[in-house]
């Protein structure tokens, strides 16, 4: 294993750990809300046993709350499953729109903690490239993490993927006009290694608050 891959291996484990911790934290909140609503239903059952009248609409609202959290938990797990499967094949065809959506969902809690809103440009058509899914997600996260520290006044970052000739661009829009690049911090050695392996280039345009990743249609072995 070269130093290059060793750095990325360590970075990858940290990335996986960070995302797993965030997902488990989110699921704990889902379970906590279900737990309280189930407890409240039980409280009402005990009250009914003692002859107290229970409002059916109140019970319906509790049931609705539980259903809402089950749906939320299901969405979190679906995204986690997609993320876990990004390690299945080192090199495969990926839909960039789906990858952006996955990374944005993974980053939502981190964004909320920084009071930043994340969105992707809506699209119906897949944008397929051949790349390394896990490393690509890792690079997108690192760029997003850095971007969130440089968010503009609207506190909203929009990610979009577009094709331009033979190249594919991923654009992070909504950044402040402050220079995002800083020697030794960004792009770091890990960022540079990811850019090299994915054959990407990173450019920033502070004047328009954008960070752009340029990817090839196919990443080589």
């Amino acid at each position: 294993m070269t130093d290059h891959w060793q750095t990325l291996g360590e970075e990858g484990i940290q990335f996986m750990g960070k995302m797993s911790a965030s997902i488990s934290h989110e699921l704990k909140n889902v379970l906590a809300i279900i737990n309280e609503n189930a407890g409240l239903l039980n409280d009402f059952c005990l009250m009914a046993e003692r002859g107290m009248e229970i409002d059916p609409e109140r019970l319906a609202r509790i049931s609705g709350n539980i259903a809402k959290q089950v749906k939320r938990g299901d969405q979190i797990l679906k995204n986690m499953n997609r993320f876990a499967h990004s390690t299945d094949h080192p090199l495969s065809t990926v839909d960039l729109h789906a990858t952006l959506a996955m990374v944005v969902k993974l980053a939502t809690r981190f964004a909320a903690n920084r009071v930043v809103t994340l969105t992707t440009t809506p699209t119906n058509k897949p944008l397929l490239i051949t790349s390394r899914p896990f490393l690509l997600a890792n690079l997108l996260w690192r760029c997003l993490d850095r971007s969130m520290n440089f968010v503009g006044t609207e506190k909203k970052i929009t990610l979009s993927a577009v094709t331009k000739g033979e190249q594919t661009l991923i654009i992070f829009n909504g950044l402040s006009d402050q220079p995002i690049e800083e020697p030794a911090i960004f792009p770091s050695q890990q960022d540079s290694d990811l850019l090299t392996i994915l054959q990407c280039t990173l450019t920033t345009a502070s004047a328009v608050g954008e960070l752009t990743l340029t990817l090839p249609q196919t990443t080589g072995n």
């Binding site: 906590a32 809300i33 309280e36 407890g39």
Partner: protein, 119 residues
């Protein structure tokens, strides 16, 4: 006794407050550190139950601010994390009487509240 529940998950704190009220504990709630501090500035509480991780102001920061507003207030922290690191890194003082992992068992929470307020 009057307690303040603080967590950015509104459905969690509002439901927990309702269940505590059913058990004779006067429970108020807030969905952010800012809202909690605003409420603490308007009325007195005996104890605050704080989520450790919240957007903008963390539970530990809320506690530090609240100590200046209501010096006698006691605290219980709750978190989704499985580790006690957050708690022991900044809250192992006499005013902090408990640390609970979500989902919280209401009987354990009530036990901690009573223990804190009887001491």
């Amino acid at each position: 006794m009057r307690i303040l529940l603080v967590d950015d998950e509104q459905e969690l704190v509002s439901t927990l407050a309702e269940r505590l009220s059913m058990r004779g504990i006067d429970a108020d709630w807030a969905c952010s550190g800012e809202e909690a501090l605003e409420k603490a500035g308007r009325q007195n509480y005996d104890l605050a139950v704080l989520d450790v991780k919240m957007p903008r102001i963390s539970g530990l920061e809320v506690k530090a601010e609240m100590e200046m507003i209501q010096p006698e207030l006691r605290y219980i922290f709750m978190t989704g994390h499985g580790s006690a690191n957050d708690f022991y890194s900044g809250s192992s003082d006499a005013k902090t009487v408990g640390y609970l992992i979500k989902p919280v068992n209401i009987d354990i929470l009530i036990g901690k509240i009573k223990e804190a307020l009887s001491g």
